[in-house]
Amino acid sequence: MKPCYIYSAVSISAQHTFDSGLGLLEPLALQPNKVNAHHPLYKSYIPPAALRRMATGVKMGVTAGKKALENANIIQPDAIVIGTGMGCIEDTETFLNAIIKNDEAYLTPTAFIQSTHNTVGAQIALGLQCKAYNNTYVHGALSFESALLDGLLQVEDDSASTVLVGGLDELGKEFIDYIDLIEDKNEGITVPFSEGASFFVLGAIKQQHAVQLKAIKTFSALTLENVRSVFMAFLKENACPPETIDALILGHNGSKYDHYYTEAASCFPKTTVQLKYKQCIGEYFTASAFGLYLGVTLLKNQDLPSLLTCGDTPKKPLKISIIYNQYNGRDHSLILLSL
């Protein structure tokens, strides 16, 4: 079994992350309910003939994917694996509204074609003329993690020497308001709904300062009582006692299910730094891909952004990190990184 390293990490988010690392020196304030990503100039990355049909998510994915490959000096990956919770909701809304408005008449195919969940993976393959393995996961808050596991499997068993893995979701224009409408106003999510794309290149050969993706585990359902035993088992499987974990990256979104993070944090000593990030980038099904972006950047730069840390931040080298996410008490994921 081969080890799996992360060669590059790129993120488009509600902050200036695309151009400048964590981009949190001058944080952008978020609107309360929903927030668009801080978009790069897509014209610089995508030819006009392709760009003219692309909705926000496709633009974000293709651009973040392109930059991740460039940063890793890879022209053609051996696999492209994408995770997206809501898929291409913008074009889905466009086509569905056209059906309703025109009562099934005068419909054109572009929005339908682009609404297919695998559009981003397909457009990246088309742009690169990449005939390799191509897959798309669409499982709510585990969409990105499923894609990451697929990539890890392929590097480990040597069926791919490099894999482009990405997680992305676009906000859309209509459906998000319905989701916001039914969110519990007292106990529900308090950070804004948002969008973003975080892309990574995985590979088997150790490069200088490369962060290793050691393990990933997901659970469809997990009771609060079982969080501790699941964490302990995960640490044991990977031969990392709690005190070896330098940073714990948590997906707090302000809802009553944040208790899960409190429980998880209680598994670790005070010397483990805790970080949360959704107050800066908002919540969406693949927000945890930003969590991984944060983890990788943290280990690479050895820099703790004070906006994200909670409690004491002891000064010490950051070598091992765990990223834990869940959504409304379901779809739990644990990712282990080491330097």
Partner: protein, 389 residues
């Protein structure tokens, strides 16, 4: 294995229809559409209310038709595999869908803001919802995910399942896919002008497009260790799999069938088989002008002058989109179990460019290896190979 399709609500009903050349293509009744008179579909003749009753769910659930069909087929698969304690082994669940909760969203979208009674379907819209409901019904808490690569989705779900067992991460995994008919997909395919007004004719020179279908199918994959420990009867082995991309066009397949060619050759390589060892190809064969020509070219490139017996079963079921790979995996296993090639219905004339002749009547013969193709939008091409020991 468990299956519900236009030709039957169980594995044995499906087999019976296949053996007796009884297709399930009819006019549409489950979805209200202005196109009802100009399309034909492969519809599961059980209403949502029937399915809710059969699954013993509360009357006012927020189960979409996707979740209902999926639960129905997945429960069968568990029974069929004689599984009583699902969590006695590390068990995962991988589903696939392209419609997701759209069957309800397309009805209620404009009521979501104001009608409290239908707001329950807001949460069931995303594609992972039906998977989660099926996993919960089966009692699977661990690894659960959903794949959506258009019409090759379920083949990729089966492939991932096989890889997770091979890597030792899981001992058992239930894999497959589900898609109901929906107004959204009917109109989408209509805009592409690839829906046939009559019964579809895969691989025929005069084919005029596809019939959409709805279905769900799941297969239980288990590690060799479980098989030995429990002395279980094995229906078939997954011996080869591959996923490649045509990288040609967002919806159309290339003239050379490059993606399909790569998927088939790589699957043969993982199975360590020569093309001549394939006894039957269950083709993707949607009956669109583009797919059948491109697939035929790819088959010729892989198999040369000696083309194995092949057929598309889509004239029985319609094209069941994300479920198709799972439906046809079940049929591939049935072909191995019963040593029979299922017929390609409605075929008359060979495609002039390729001259390939599918099997058109039931053909009994020794079958050891079956190759099954599933291709989708976005250039996604996947091939699975099922073998008998």
């Amino acid at each position: 294995m468990g299956i519900v399709s236009a030709i039957g609500h169980s594995v044995s009903e499906n087999l019976d229809a296949l053996l007796n050349s009884k297709p399930g293509i009819t006019s549409i009744s489950s979805v209200k559409t202005h196109h009802a008179n100009t399309i034909k579909v492969g519809e599961v003749k059980r209403s949502n209310a029937d399915l809710i009753k059969a699954l013993q769910l509360p009357e006012h659930t927020n189960y979409t038709r996707t979740a209902l069909l999926g639960c129905y087929a997945a429960k069968q698969a568990i029974q069929n595999a004689n599984i009583t304690a699902i969590n006695s082994y590390r068990t995962g669940f991988i589903s696939s869908t392209s419609v997701g909760g759209m069957d309800k969203t397309e009805i209620h979208l404009k009521d979501f803001a104001t009608n409290k009674a239908v707001q329950k379907y807001i949460k069931s819209h995303h594609a992972g919802d039906s998977t989660q409901k099926i996993a919960d019904t089966l009692g699977i808490d661990g690894f659960v995910t959903t794949i959506s690569t258009a019409c090759s989705s379920a083949a990729n779900a089966i492939m991932l399942g096989a890889k997770l067992i091979k890597s030792g991460r899981l001992d058992r995994v239930i894999v497959g896919g589900v898609d109901p008919l929906s107004k959204f997909t009917i109109n989408g395919f209509k805009t592409l002008m690839i829906l046939s007004e009559s019964d579809c004719r895969p691989f025929d020179a005069d084919r005029s497009g596809l019939n959409l279908g709805e279905a769900a199918a799941y297969l239980v994959l288990e590690s060799q260790a479980i098989v030995e420990k429990e002395n279980k009867k094995v229906l078939a082995y997954i011996s080869g799999y591959a996923n490649a991309n045509d990288a040609f066009h967002q919806t159309a397949s290339s003239e050379t069938g490059e993606g399909a060619y790569l998927a088939m050759t790589q699957a043969l390589k993982t199975a360590q088989l020569n093309p001549s060892q394939i006894d039957y190809i269950n083709a993707h064969g949607t009956a669109t002008a583009n797919n059948d020509l491109s697939e035929s070219v790819a088959i010729k490139r892989v198999f040369g002058e000696t083309i194995p017996d092949f057929s598309s079963t889509k004239a029985f079921t319609g094209h069941t989109l994300a479920a198709a790979g799972a439906i046809e995996a079940v049929y591939s296993v049935l072909a191995l179990q019963n040593q029979v090639v299922f017929p390609n219905l409605n075929f008359k004339t060979t495609i002039p460019e390729t001259g390939l002749q599918p099997v058109t009547t039931i053909k009994r013969k020794p079958i050891k290896h079956v190759l099954s193709n599933s291709f989708g939008f976005g250039g996604n091409c996947s091939t699975l190979i099922f073998s008998k020991l």
